[in-house]
């Protein structure tokens, strides 16, 4: 068998194992080892297996991940989400669909600090869905806004998924954070546009909440100072070159804990529980990264990325056609795999192809994250959907699916904008770095 044939067989085996409920990390590790052994011989494969854990143990750049995770876990246990929602609501109150727009704003702001779509969707389900229902919003609209708005969290910096991409693709974390800012803002704008259109088409499903007096608006806006301070210090610090990503993450986690303690929303027991939750998530993520390291070594040996890249170039296809094909693959994979697993499996294959046809690794990172977001809201896996359903059991699953459909247009619009205007992602990093 040629290395390419072994590679293709291994990729099918990997997908089969994952669907047979083998942990994603173990499937990556096992298939990577077996494939490497088949190409280079078992002695070489086992030597690589023995040295890979050390690469993980001495990866300074990975230290960002648990620290940002801790920051998000602590933020989710305080009242920051409620305050953010109140502030966003103060801005949009009095407009038709204003509560839904406020939810998108709050999701984006909270997601920026939290870095996790699931935690954002989970928190905003508790905060904003009861409020929207109270004002007579249709269930499909209320759930669709939260499910889709929750995904904004993984794009807006600081984003855990971008850090992991940076490590696998060996790219700069600050440059990726800078690249994500404008596409993130465009996605927020597109979500608000979708809500505005829906409010015109279905006025009874998105009623108008009463306008608030100016004094109330100012008070509500003032309450979001905690979020504003954390975001300004962490992201401002990185963009302005004051901190490295690791330093920003440590300062952000410390600041979030300090604010939680000072506002009496976090005690020792709460901190211990937050640390435990962070450790659990860290373990499951890094186990996958360990497997992905071995799998990536194997994929390089197959020469599949280079061969596919040369083949794609020889076909003379327009680069945009190749990228659209990748969108299709990601949307299909996203129906079954979680976003980090999907990224770790595909980056070794797709990134070299994207680079071969002229896209930069920074642009591709933003692209892959936006596409991966879609997976969080598409059935049957769509984790954000299940998070909402688990907390609002009286909502019908069919209503949630129906509510998400219009927001898929926002995501597709975001992808189209990124493809049509690569500068959307590339301009800010080119100015800053």
């Amino acid at each position: 068998m040629t290395p390419q044939a072994i590679g293709v067989t291994a990729i099918f085996a990997l997908v089969a194992l994952v669907f047979l409920r083998v942990p994603v990390a173990v499937a990556l590790l096992g298939v990577g080892l077996a494939g490497y052994g088949a190409i280079e011989g078992w002695r070489v494969a086992l030597i690589t297996l023995g040295t890979t854990p050390f690469n993980l143990a001495q990866a300074y750049s990975l230290s960002v991940v648990p620290l940002f995770l801790l920051m998000g876990v602590v933020a989710a246990r305080t009242s920051m989400a409620q305050e953010l929602f109140a502030a966003a609501n103060a801005l949009f109150a009095g407009r038709r669909g204003g509560l839904a727009m406020a939810t998108v704003g709050a999701c984006a702001g909270f997601g920026a600090i939290c870095g996790s779509s699931l935690a954002t969707a989970s928190t905003m389900t508790r905060v904003s869905i009861p409020e929207m229902r109270r004002y007579g919003y249709a269930d499909d609209v209320a759930s669709g806004v939260v499910a889709s708005g929750g995904t904004l969290g993984i794009l807006i910096p600081p984003s855990i998924i971008l850090v992991i991409y940076a490590i696998i693709a060996q790219e700069s974390v600050p440059a990726l954070f800078a690249a994500a800012l404008f596409p993130g803002l465009v996605l927020i704008g597109l979500h608000i546009l979708v809500i505005a259109v829906m409010a015109r088409m279905r006025p009874t499903a998105l009623p108008t909440a009463p306008a608030l007096p100016v004094a109330h608006k100012l008070r509500a806006l003032g309450q979001m100072w905690k979020m504003a301070v954390i975001f300004a210090v962490v992201i401002g610090g990185i963009y302005l070159g004051w901190f490295s990503p690791t330093e920003a993450a440590a300062i952000g986690a410390f600041l979030t804990i300090a604010i939680g303690v000072a506002s009496r929303q976090m005690d020792m027991r709460g901190l211990a529980s937050a640390l435990r939750e962070t450790v659990g998530t860290t373990g499951s993520l890094f186990f996958i990264v360990l497997g992905a390291f071995v799998f990536a070594f194997f994929i390089v040996q197959t020469r599949i990325p280079a061969t596919l890249g040369e083949w794609v170039v020889s076909l003379g296809l327009a680069p945009v056609v190749v990228i659209l094909f990748m969108v299709l693959v990601y949307v299909i994979l996203g129906c079954f795999l979680d976003s980090i697993s999907m990224m770790l499996i595909t980056i070794p294959v797709f990134l070299p192809i994207a680079q071969e046809i002229g896209y930069s690794a920074i642009w591709f990172g933003i692209f892959i994250v936006i596409v991966a977001e879609i997976g969080l809201i598409t059935p049957p896996v769509g984790l954000n959907i299940f998070v909402i359903r688990a907390q609002q059991p009286d909502m019908r699953l069919s209503d949630i699916y129906k509510g998400i459909a219009p927001f898929l247009l926002a995501h597709l619009g975001g992808i189209a904008a990124l493809i049509a205007f690569p500068a959307l992602a590339l301009w800010l990093p080119s100015v800053l770095y």
Partner: protein, 156 residues
């Protein structure tokens, strides 16, 4: 009894890993703070401190996540067939592969010890990192075994 052992082991690992995470956060915050006060003050060996605490954090967190059943799996198939045999098979594979990985680390770890490899800043022996790896992978194999046996016992 086995369930109790599983819970205690998970709690011990979570506490130890949490301490590593706290240390990681506090030492970086301390370094940034003293540098802000006076740029000439800096903690020598920050990279070593961060990498060392991160290594222990990672390799204590992995077995903890196995014990707590937090490893990421795609459970779509549960709707169609009884998942227990697949869960057990997954844990057997997990235990087997981490044990094999751990076994394969022995040679490079002992090489690092023999050659006296040291970190750049503080000159710490790199073998110390290998100890974290051995502890983590060994505990991961044990964790998979304990999770498998306790799941099996509960099912019965």
């Amino acid at each position: 009894m086995l369930r109790r052992f599983r819970d205690v082991l998970a709690a011990v690992l979570a506490t130890a890993a949490s301490l590593c995470l706290l240390f990681l956060m506090l030492i970086v915050v301390f370094d940034v703070t003293v540098r802000a006060i006076d740029p000439t003050w800096r903690l020598v060996g920050m990279v070593d401190y961060v990498e060392f605490s991160l290594a222990w954090l990672i390799y204590l967190a992995i077995p903890m996540s196995i014990l707590a059943g937090q490893v990421i799996v795609v459970d779509l198939i549960d709707q169609y067939i009884r998942p227990r045999p697949l869960v057990i098979a997954g844990l057997v594979l997990t235990g087997g592969l981490v044990a094999l990985t751990g076994y394969q680390t022995i040679t490079p770890a002992l090489d690092a010890l023999d050659w006296g490899d040291r970190t750049l800043d503080l000159g710490w022996p790199k073998f110390w990192y290998w100890i974290a790896i051995w502890v983590g992978l060994g505990l991961s194999a044990i964790a998979a075994l304990v999770a498998m046996l306790s799941d099996d016992k509960e099912a019965k």
